[in-house]
């Protein structure tokens, strides 16, 4: 049954090829391929839950020379998020691109993006990770400029160059690791890596590269234009999933592979950058005049929260408190993934109806598009971190870890970030629920509005009331090093 692991990668890959060959039926293939990917991810999930981590040596070559795929609790959670989000987005995109000339290109790249994401979450080999990162970056760039406008092309180019720079830094780190330990298999490395200048340099280079990709302040500048100018379904997956891939790798590196190398000082630096990102990103979101730009800046801020966890995680001794904090970090990442994709899809619905997304002119949205306005409100609740969303629980434990470790410096950051988030979300809702004709008179209901509201419900209800599943899955670990 081990070969089950190949399917989450193979299904979208073959669907992509099929869509390329049969471009007239690409919409159908795209939606069906995404659904099938979701199905195999669920099958993998069942096996992981029942019998622990799964490993697959590709082509029968043992890890070391060959490449291993591994699925454990963390990768399963990320896989579940990415396949659920991409399913909902695919349904939305089938309406969004129904008349577009370039829908064939979209679906091929879309399936390739899913392939890259799934491969990244399943890779157990550092070099393979580099390849998946590049695949992900390239497909994301092309998707981002599908809108075809000048701004989107410029933003995509900048996204591409920064992404390549990040990959290069990651790759030279990989080279240093190979020089030091003679292997790139992550399970072997988790045991082998010890503190030392070479390991430190490798970690810094790899982390630096990943920080560009995860848009941590001050390396975030490429994100807002790229995410705000892409077509709505693409923005949704860029903000919800693609940046999370880099974050996932940082977690793997910091907590499993290099857990002996990481120093508190380094973690505090990342935490401080995260803090600036929280405050600055939220402030910029509050100033934004366009809905999608606001959402993009909000992503910068939300990613900052995730980095606040790092100094807390390194300060906590291994044990229950640390496991709780790690679970909270993953829960926050998941909640943001669902909430932000819902938010972007809702923004897309509004943009198609109204022909613009200027926040100040959104009066009447609640009357013309009640389901979408409701989606914005629900997703907003999760972005602020109000109950019963998953991010409320995560924030509770974030605060709690700050108290346990005595790192009170993060408290005002979290407080200011929450209030600013409240301010920008309710500013939007104030306009959306006000009377007006900004989005036209049409009432709609149907395929384009439902996926977003489902995603928002997952973020606010499912990940709130059933969040303990996250903490139950995480201890299923394929890497001996740390808690992850």
């Amino acid at each position: 049954m081990n070969n089950l692991l190949i399917w989450p990668i193979a299904v979208p890959l073959f669907s992509a090829l099929l869509a390329l060959l049969w471009i007239r039926r690409s919409t159908w293939i795209g939606v069906f391929g995404t659904a099938l990917s979701l199905l195999v991810v669920l099958l993998v999930g069942r096996q992981v839950v029942e019998s622990g981590p799964i490993e697959l040596a590709l082509g029968g070559w043992t890890p070391g020379l060959g490449i291993a795929l591994r699925a454990d609790g963390l990768s399963l959670l990320m896989l579940l998020m990415s396949s659920l989000v991409s399913m909902a987005v695919a349904v939305y995109a089938s309406v969004y691109f129904s008349k577009a000339e370039r829908r064939g290109e979209f679906w091929v790249l879309w399936l390739l993006l899913i392939t890259a994401l799934h491969a990244l979450f399943l890779s157990g080999d550092l070099f393979n990770l580099y390849v998946t990162l590049e695949l992900l970056g390239l497909s994301a760039v092309v998707l981002a400029c599908l809108g075809g406008s000048r701004e989107s092309l410029q933003a995509a180019l900048r996204y591409l160059v920064m992404g390549l720079l990040g990959s290069m830094a990651f790759l030279i780190g990989v080279a240093l690791i190979y020089a030091g330990y003679g292997t790139l298999d992550m399970a072997a490395l988790a045991d082998a890596i010890e503190a030392g200048p070479a390991a430190w340099l490798a970690l810094s280079l790899m982390t630096g590269g990943l920080l560009i990709k995860s848009a941590l302040f001050p390396l975030h500048f490429w994100l807002p234009p790229a995410h705000a100018n892409a077509p709505a379904p693409v923005s949704a997956v860029l903000s919800a999933l693609v940046v999370k891939a880099a974050l996932y790798l940082i977690l793997r590196l910091w907590l499993s592979l290099f857990d002996g190398v990481v120093t508190q000082a380094a973690a505090v630096i990342l935490g401080l950058l995260g803090a600036v990102a929280v405050v600055w990103g939220s402030w910029a979101a509050l100033q934004a005049e366009r809905l999608k730009l606001m959402a993009a800046y909000s992503t910068v801020a939300q990613l900052g929260y995730l980095f606040l966890f790092l100094p807390l995680l390194t300060a906590l001794p291994e044990g229950a408190a640390r496991d709780v904090a790690l679970g909270a970090l993953v829960l926050l990442a998941l909640t943001h993934g669902f909430a932000k994709s819902a938010f972007f899809l809702a923004a897309g619905v509004i943009m198609q109806r109204a022909g613009h997304d200027r926040i100040a002119e959104l009066g009447g949205t609640a009357r013309a598009l009640p389901v979408t306005a409701f989606t914005l409100a629900l997703a907003g609740v999760a972005l602020i971190g109000l109950p019963p969303s998953g991010s409320f629980l995560a924030k509770w434990h974030l605060l709690s870890s700050a108290f346990i470790t005595g790192q009170y410096v993060w408290l005002p950051v979290i407080a200011v970030g929450t209030l600013l988030a409240g301010a920008y979300i309710f500013r939007l809702l104030g306009y959306a629920f006000a009377p007006g004709e900004g989005v036209g008179p049409s009432l709609s209901a149907g395929r384009e509005e439902i996926p977003a509201v489902l995603l928002a419900l997952i973020a606010t209800l499912l990940l709130g009331f059933w969040a303990s599943a996250v903490w139950e899955l995480l201890p299923i670990s394929a890497y001996v090093g740390g808690g992850a």
């Binding site: 509770w396 605060l399 009331f465």
Partner: protein, 500 residues
């Protein structure tokens, strides 16, 4: 005992499910919406009846659900929850009837009644919360559910009021959450237990506990409208009358006051809190709020604004009763939680009726309104007299027990003057209204007379709610010693809180 698990959940769902269903109803399905509302309110009333009976006989009603490690969602019914649950349930029923009449033929009624039901769900959730975490969850949900109600009219004024409300309450909720998390990390979980839990943790630093107390009380004090955190309340007046009524009598300000009671009695323990020395400060703030609110009320000509400042003042009686050590003051504070609710909702219903029938918004326009609208004005008068503390209306009982409690605790020297001063001020801002209404004759035409040609002063759904609640205020004052009366119930709670 599955019943003991499902009853608290059922009480929540009896307003949550109708609320959600109402959102999806098209605007014109008036009859179905009314049925859903009333059915939910009646089912809730029935369930609460079972709950009262059970809690009185010391049955345990509890639901637990683990949301995250160390964070349990707990619904638990004790005597204190029952007091608040019954108040909210009863007044919700009355307010729903009133709102159906009041909002007839206005737009967005599905949205309004949906959020209205969610608001009550959050309030009842607060009452039933079995630990601090669950309390924080419902406290924030209440903020979310009331914001659209205040903004309901959609006018720039309404949006402004709602924005100010949101600013205050998000800030308060955040402080409450930080305080709750802090306490949580020190103790590993904060369940509400009669008599408090913190005196068992002898190793905790006292000054830390004082800081946490401050965070919690400031967080709760925003909703309880303690001075200087009361600024949102007069601004929230822009809401439709039923919302103001519910906001002032049950939902928001009461949630804050109820939270303060919870924190002092069931988390810190009133004796331990007195040892920490935090009660004196709270008592002082409450006294200042009582006097300040009354003084501000005196200078308002806008009827609803005067009532709003009166709420600022009156809710702090609850806080004052809580801040004085001793069972009698406790009884006074707790019973006022109910009494103030019943009386204040009467006043707001009446104010809504004046505006609806004759377009009266200002006190200076009320000359002679008593003869034109006798039922409403009678109800208003009973409520006002109760607020002043004139027997036999319910408000007298509260003030009497607060005074007795102050004497018992040896705090009479400052509490009694506060009570007397406040009662005089209450009289000073309510009696002139009654005088105008009953004894002056109309000096000019009503601002907007909408009742021309009607046989009675108002349609039934608008007239009967204030009359009913006024009668209730009179009855719970007259029969304060009867079994299951609010006073008896407050004595039951005080008995359980001071058991050690």
């Amino acid at each position: 005992m599955t019943m003991s698990v499902w009853l608290p959940v059922g009480i929540l769902l009896s307003s949550f499910i109708p609320g959600v269903l109402i959102f999806f109803q098209p605007e014109e399905r008036h009859r179905l919406r009314t049925w859903l509302n009333l059915l939910g309110a009646l089912v809730k009333l029935l369930l609460v009846g079972v709950l009262i009976w059970g809690v009185f006989h010391e049955q345990v009603f509890e639901t637990r659900w683990t949301m995250a490690p160390g964070l349990e969602f707990v619904l638990h019914a004790d005597a204190l929850s029952v007091l608040f649950v019954s108040l909210s349930t009863l007044l919700w029923l009355v307010t729903t009837i009133y709102a159906i009449g009041y909002l007839e033929r206005t737009p967005h009624r599905s949205r309004f009644f949906g959020f209205f039901s969610l608001c009550v769900t959050a309030t009842v959730g607060l009452a039933l919360a079995g630990n601090l975490f669950t309390f924080v969850v419902f406290y924030e949900l209440l903020t979310l559910a009331t914001y659209p109600l205040i903004a309901h009219k959609g006018s720039p004024e309404a949006l402004r009021g709602a924005r100010i409300y949101l600013r205050y309450t998000l800030f308060g909720g955040l402080l409450l959450m930080i305080g709750a998390v802090w306490l949580h990390t020190l103790t590993g979980g904060v369940e509400f237990v009669e008599g408090g839990i913190l005196d068992q943790y002898t190793n905790l630093d006292q000054s830390t506990l004082r800081w946490i107390f401050l965070l919690l009380i400031v967080g709760l004090g925003v909703k309880a409208a303690l001075v200087p955190l009361h600024g949102w309340l007069p601004q929230a007046m822009v809401a439709p009358a039923p919302v103001s009524a519910l906001l002032h009598a049950v939902a928001v300000v009461k949630a804050g006051a109820f939270g303060i009671v919870r924190v002092i009695y069931d988390v810190y323990g009133v004796e331990f809190a007195a040892e920490l020395g935090v009660l004196t400060l709270l008592g002082a703030v409450a006294s200042i709020t009582i006097i300040y609110g009354s003084l501000k009320a005196l200078s308002q000509d806008h009827l609803k604004k005067r009532l709003a400042y009166s709420t600022v003042s009156q809710v702090s009686y609850i806080v004052l009763g809580t801040a004085i050590l001793g069972p009698l003051a406790t009884i006074g504070g707790l019973v006022h939680l109910v009494h103030q609710g019943v009386m204040k909702i009467t006043l707001f219903f009446a104010a809504g009726n004046y505006a609806e029938a004759l377009g009266i918004h200002r006190i200076s326009e009320m000359d002679g309104v008593g003869r034109r609208m006798p039922g409403t004005t009678l109800a208003f008068s009973i409520g006002a007299l109760g607020m002043i503390g004139i027997p036999p209306v319910a408000g007298f009982i509260s003030k009497w027990y607060l005074g007795l409690g102050a004497v018992e605790a040896g705090a009479a020297a400052w509490v009694v003057p506060v009570l007397i001063a406040s009662s005089l001020l209450n009289a000073a801002y309510f009696l002139p209204i009654l005088y105008r209404a009953w004894f002056k004759s109309p000096s000019r035409p009503w601002p907007a007379d909408r009742t021309a040609g009607c046989a009675r002063e108002l349609p039934d759904p608008l007239l009967w709610p204030p009359v009913t609640t006024a009668a209730l205020a009179l009855l719970i004052g007259l029969f304060a010693a009867a079994p299951y009366s609010p006073l008896e119930w407050a004595e039951l709670i005080a008995g359980r809180e001071y058991r050690q």
